[in-house]
């Protein structure tokens, strides 16, 4: 119940922020969609008739998955950094619920919003490109949620580092664009790249949505395990830096 209150609380705050700063939200949306259109029509014109329809579908799905992944990772790390910069991070510590649960609920709310936002973008993309994908949205949402858990872990680690070192935008940018690389890796059959975060989930999602593949259950177990390992690592790193921040009085000092 506590998580529900926390998530609703965060969603309400986000909606209020969007209503108040609608210009920023609209321009952000236009930029994101503009990049997608440039990629899509660029690839189509460059490749001409030789471009396979699967490649265009991969581009649509891949772009949406990248959007969700990047905003999920950044929402965690940037949120912690932002709260620290604003001076409100210490206030979040002053709750009997505990900072980790609060951050996770905030992140989950952010991700829910991002998924919804990206599904709207996906529909717009399909409408403009005329390429309609057959997507099972229940499967899509669950798979995305399971896959991005690994990035939440990395985001927590990044946020922990940000509390101590403050300016970490370069590090966050590298991670954000590194996600494109993760999505491009060949992770099946299982090899060393399969153990990287997000990669197994993204590859599976593209396989199901674009290529109508079906996969054995163990693969989903592997994706969940991969995500949980990174979440545990992220929580451990966050706790380490949180302890250090409380030792050095860095929580409220920017």
């Amino acid at each position: 119940m506590t998580y529900v209150i926390l998530i609703i609380n965060e969603l309400k705050k986000m909606v209020k922020e969007i209503r108040r700063y609608y210009f920023e939200f609209i321009t952000g949306t236009i930029v994101m969609f503009g990049i997608f259109l440039a990629l899509f029509f660029g690839l189509k014109n460059f490749g001409g008739n030789n471009i396979a329809s699967d490649s265009l579908d991969s581009l649509i799905v891949g772009y949406i998955l990248w959007g969700i992944a990047m905003t999920s990772f950044q929402s965690v790390a940037s949120m912690i950094w932002d709260e620290s910069q604003k001076g409100t991070l210490e206030k979040l510590y002053l709750s009997q619920i505990g900072i980790e649960k609060i951050l996770l609920a905030k992140v989950f709310a952010n991700i829910l919003f991002n998924i919804f936002f990206n599904i709207v973008i996906l529909f717009l993309a399909m409408l403009i490109t005329g390429r309609w994908l057959n997507i099972d949205f229940v499967y899509f949402i669950w798979m995305v949620l399971i896959s991005v858990i690994s990035l939440i872990g990395l985001g927590l680690a990044g946020g922990g580092i940000a509390i101590i070192h403050k300016k970490v935008t370069s590090l966050l940018s590298v991670f954000s664009f590194g996600i494109i690389g993760l999505m491009a890796l060949q992770v099946y059959p299982i090899n060393i790249f399969s153990f990287l975060p997000y990669a197994p989930g993204a590859k599976t999602l593209i396989g199901v949505i674009v290529y109508d593949q079906t996969y054995p259950l163990w693969r989903y177990g592997f994706i969940l395990l991969n995500s949980l390992v990174y979440l545990v690592i992220g929580l451990y790193v966050f706790r380490m830096y949180d302890k250090k921040a409380r030792r050095l009085n860095k929580l409220g000092v920017y």
Binding site: T2, I5, L6, I8, N9, E10, K12, K13, K16, E17, R20, Y21, K86, G87, T88, E90, K91, L92, Y93, L94, S95, Q96, I97, G98, I102, K243, R246, R247, L248, N249, L251, G252
Partner: protein, 313 residues
């Protein structure tokens, strides 16, 4: 009164600097405890240690009988804090939205806090501006919003770090009245730091004076005034004192004579007011004409200055 906060031998170091050096004190239920000290004395460090926002190297802290380290989350359900320097609230949200948000952070839904929110917004004179963005507010109104957001979960212990810093007189009065009502009417415990001596003197039951991490004094306001009850008498005389006149005051204790044209002002600090008769006797013998007598009681500021200066010596 039972003790709700117990701090025992607290030590907090930053590398080689000892910010808090082995201090111990308790705060009783319903008490308003003031924490005084110059900048860097260790006041904020102590408050943050109680709130578990800092890890300390030595000592123990307990809140409501629970170890503050072990039960750092549990104890927060009964504590509210406004921290110094921190924004404490979101500037792009209104007081109403900030209160709702921080109630949510405490696990409370909007429906559960409706009455308390209305009471606080009205009590802190924010009701008419409850839907305006906080960033448009004066510092005083922002501080009052921060206070309301910090106590929406009805804690019985309030920790206020410099709540009056940079505020105008009217807002200070609002906050003073509110703190007093919290303590006297609702029996809430308040631990407060401030540089504003007259503010502290007007609300605190007990005062801790701290300097360079060491506790110099821990007395109730009455004890402090008794202990440092010296009254300062300034007697203006209609002529200058000769050297032999001045020699006559050698036995009256610490005193000061200031001379200006044809006037002299003899200032003497006396613990027992009856001692003034000895000085009158001397002046009578010297046949001096008294033009004016001014009596000043020691304020908290005088006591604070004396204590922190003595320590420096």
């Amino acid at each position: 009164m039972s003790e709700v906060i117990v701090v025992e031998n607290l030590v907090k170091k930053y590398k080689d600097i000892c910010a808090v050096n082995d201090i111990s004190f308790t705060v009783k239920k319903g008490e308003i405890l003031g924490f005084l000290g110059p900048n860097g004395a260790g006041k904020t460090t102590t408050i943050k240690s109680i709130l578990s926002l800092l890890e300390y190297e030595g000592g123990n802290i307990s809140v409501n009988g629970m170890d503050a380290k072990k039960y750092k989350h549990k104890i927060m359900s009964d504590m509210g804090a406004v921290l110094e320097g921190a924004r404490n609230i979101y500037w792009h949200l209104s007081p109403d939205e900030n209160i709702n948000y921080f109630a949510g952070i405490m696990g409370l839904s909007t429906n559960k806090i409706r009455e308390e929110k209305e009471y606080l917004l009205k009590r802190l004179k924010l009701w008419d501006v409850k839907d305006k963005e906080v960033r448009e507010f004066s510092k005083g109104m922002q501080q009052k919003t921060a206070i309301a957001a910090s106590i929406i979960h009805k804690p019985s212990i309030l920790l206020l770090d410099e709540p009056t810093l940079g505020l105008d007189v009217e807002t200070k009065n609002d906050i003073r009245e509110w703190i007093l009502s919290m303590s006297k009417e609702q029996n809430k415990t308040v631990l407060i730091t401030s540089h504003d001596m007259s503010f502290m003197e007007s609300i605190c039951d007990r005062i801790l004076i701290i300097k360079k991490g060491k506790l110099l004094s821990n007395h109730s306001m009455t004890e402090l005034k008794d202990k440092f009850a010296n009254k300062k008498y300034s007697i203006t005389i209609k002529e200058k004192f000769s050297d032999s006149d001045k020699a006559g005051f050698k036995d009256i204790g610490e005193h000061e004579i200031k001379e200006d044209q044809d006037l002299s002002v003899l200032t003497v600090s006396l613990k027992n007011s009856r001692e003034i008769y000895n000085i009158f006797d001397i002046l009578k013998l010297q046949n001096k004409e008294i033009l004016d007598i001014n009596i000043k009681e020691n304020t908290l500021e005088d006591i604070f200055r004396n204590l922190t200066t003595d320590e420096a010596k």
